[in-house]
């Protein structure tokens, strides 16, 4: 799950002097060249080698836990001195839970099927040639992330398994933890007969290194940014390297006139309140005018009981007043801005719509094309919604919170993409690969 990370606004980057830029350019070029060279060996690695590296990483993390915690403590102390808040420190901390999570992740990724080398779409052509496609790594993946050091392991593991070389650039606050984890990764790559440069961590904390990375089209094939909206927005402005990313998740649930009341209440509750910070949490609820008089009051009571602030349009307010709703005084009038806001918080905007078309138009216009759901028992209505809503994931009678690589059965997730090119929606190992055409002839020539 790509959870949005507000730390970006708290980071205190070291800003580079212009005299320093050339040094960083040179440093990154060296890293880029090493990564490109290593990517050839990573692409050729056997499944056994890759899995061995992953399992060794897990064992090394287990063995070196005390050392890792000691190093991590230094990052934490620095962050505390810099006045970072508790949530920030929490993300930065390599707790037992975080460490066990890394080890389990490594074991899970080792257990996944190797995507590389798979041959598909075979066909014979009348000209005598045989065509197929082979799954191959993308080459070099750049990962830009913030304060969570466990991303170092999670992201590296996915890139190793998919036969890619990786360049990791974590937040400056986690630099000591990341460097220690990188050391483990490189040792284990070496032990598995793979190049140490298969995974490199950028050790400079100068933010100019990020600017350099996102324009290194010669050495990096794709960048996966993992972090909050402002990080992504900043990168999008200047990136020349393609990115697998999403900017935000303004997810909707539309409760149709023919929704099952009980399912709709359960799902709408879960989509908003199961967790507030993930990008797949519902931010706007749309309710058909016909069902609003019945469903609006019980649903809004649930939200208010859980402390969710409700920002409602005029019609919703009317419906609730009509129903003698208790919490009228706590309602907030929704503004135009609410329809385009990703709260990532216990806040929900609500709007009554007159029909399916209005719901679809609202979602396509105001949404972020991430994940949107309809609650209905009418299959014709459902089909129209699923077809016409232009989002990476469209759902019927299910919580938007399911939009996740593990939930979709991808086995792992490097991120979620809202873009239509290449990978769309939750992105697993396959999104870190490409297909090349294999053409076999027997002295075949074109006439």
């Amino acid at each position: 799950m790509s959870t949005s990370d507000p730390s970006v606004n708290n980071t205190t980057p070291t800003t580079s002097s212009s005299a320093n830029l050339q040094a960083i350019h040179e440093q990154l070029t060296v890293i880029g060249k090493k990564a490109r060279a290593a990517s050839r060996a990573m692409a050729k690695a056997t499944s056994q080698q890759k899995n061995l590296a992953l399992l060794q990483m897990g064992m090394a993390i287990r063995l070196q836990t005390p050392l890792l915690k000691e190093v991590n403590l230094r990052d934490i102390e620095r962050a505390k001195l810099a006045g970072q808040d508790a949530a920030f420190i929490d993300r930065l901390t390599l707790s037992d839970k975080a460490i066990n999570g890394m080890i389990e992740g490594l074991e899970q990724i080792a257990a996944l099927q190797d995507p590389i080398g798979e041959v598909l779409n075979h066909r014979s052509r009348p000209t005598g040639i045989d065509i197929s496609q082979m799954r191959v790594p993308l080459g070099v993946i750049g990962i830009i992330y913030e304060s969570r050091p466990n991303v170092t392991i999670d992201a590296a593991a996915l890139c190793i398994k998919s036969g890619n070389a990786t360049i990791l650039r974590g937040g400056s606050e986690a630099i000591e933890s990341n460097t220690a984890l990188a050391k483990i990764i490189q040792d284990c790559l070496k032990r598995a007969g793979l190049p140490e440069d298969g995974v490199q961590v950028i050790e400079t904390t100068d933010r100019a290194a990020v600017g350099e990375m996102i324009t290194m089209t010669e050495y990096i094939d794709v960048i996966v940014p993992r972090g909050g909206k402002s990080l992504i927005a900043r990168l999008m402005q200047d990136a020349r390297v393609p990115m697998i990313k999403h900017l935000d998740g303004i997810c909707h649930t539309y409760v149709d006139a023919e929704a099952d009341m009980s399912k709709a209440i359960t799902v709408c509750d879960n989509a908003k309140t199961q967790r507030y910070s993930p990008c797949n949490a519902m931010e706007t609820l749309l309710v058909h005018a016909k069902i609003a008089p019945r469903i609006m009051a019980p649903l809004c009571k649930i939200y208010q009981d859980k402390g969710v602030e409700l920002r409602v349009d005029r019609k919703t307010k009317g419906v609730l007043a009509q129903a003698g709703f208790d919490g009228m005084s706590a309602l907030v009038d929704a503004t135009e801005e609410d329809w385009t806001t990703e709260y990532l918080a216990p806040i929900l905007s609500i709007k009554v719509v007159e029909n399916l078309d209005e719901a679809i138009d609202h979602i396509n216009h105001y949404g972020s094309h991430h994940t949107d759901a309809i609650m209905t028992e009418n299959t014709i209505t459902a089909d129209r919604f699923l077809k016409e809503v232009d989002s990476a994931s469209v759902m019927l009678n299910a919580s938007t919170r399911f939009a996740d690589g593990f939930e979709y059965g991808l086995g792992a997730e490097i991120g979620i993409s809202n873009d239509k090119l290449h990978a769309r929606g939750p992105v697993g190992l396959e999104g870190l690969t490409s297909l090349k055409y294999i053409v076999k002839g027997n002295g075949s020539i074109r006439g």
Copy 2:
């Protein structure tokens, strides 16, 4: 086939005054908004509607041939006055052959299976949700091309069939022909119940319009540039909208020690000489040192007899001298630059390599990752080449000239991509689509 078009260097663009830029920005924004709106209707279009539009376009072109030729003549006369050469005029001319080609293309594309709405990769998850993926259009496709007016029809047809809206920007020399063809397209879209704005032609000849198009990320989802290397290179510098493109095709054939002599000669001849200008023609021949003494002389004789200039490395020269080759005096010494040059002409660079690794390294280092072939009867050698050469198409015992959407059975081709993200290699209708996740539950919530 994406044939490289040298016209780019001959074009005489109208350069915009800076006062004019704002007007073009506004004009393009209007076009972009119309395209975005039309894309919703195009995405919903039935196969029948789309095919009707395509077939009507064919009929209209047939009926209006005299008119089209008249309009085209005005473009041609202007080009002649501007001093364009015969090859340029040839590309610009709507000959009977070009017109029949457009009509046949329309019929072929109408006959292809509609990719939109296809549901694939269905799976049920233990949480009770069903996951599948649905093929959907990308949205709005921008096509930037040069002097061939038939691209207007070919590209529009592929975009219509794949449910996309299209913005076309042809060369200023073909503006009258393109505008007339656009009129036909829009009439036929309307007659099929589809929005006229489903296909728009930019009528300003100001080159600033191209600069605007390639940065309109809000209104254009992908740009397909069709033209010569200098056009693509220029667009790559400034584009913010993703592109489906290739810069050049430096295609290799490697003749292995264990190649079949007769097959190798036939295929190497075809790959170079069947046509010189396509991007999939061979530009560099690599020959294993063991087979060079036998194959080099007969092969080079064929090339020289066909007027191909041979640029050879020292070892090739030695082998040919040893063999008493007749055409020694016509050989040219290859320079470092030759290994990275796409000639698109009767010129071939030749190098002797000591082994498979040297061949693979040479191709990965100097090539353009377009199409590369090996000639060998050894399946282990073949497998290593096919796996390790990092190109969009890798071939065994076949001519590189096969790298083409029709030859691969895609039914049509919008272009060839050398990029690894999204579509790679020849790109047909599928490359103009995306997959969205469809999630079906029954009141399913995340625990």
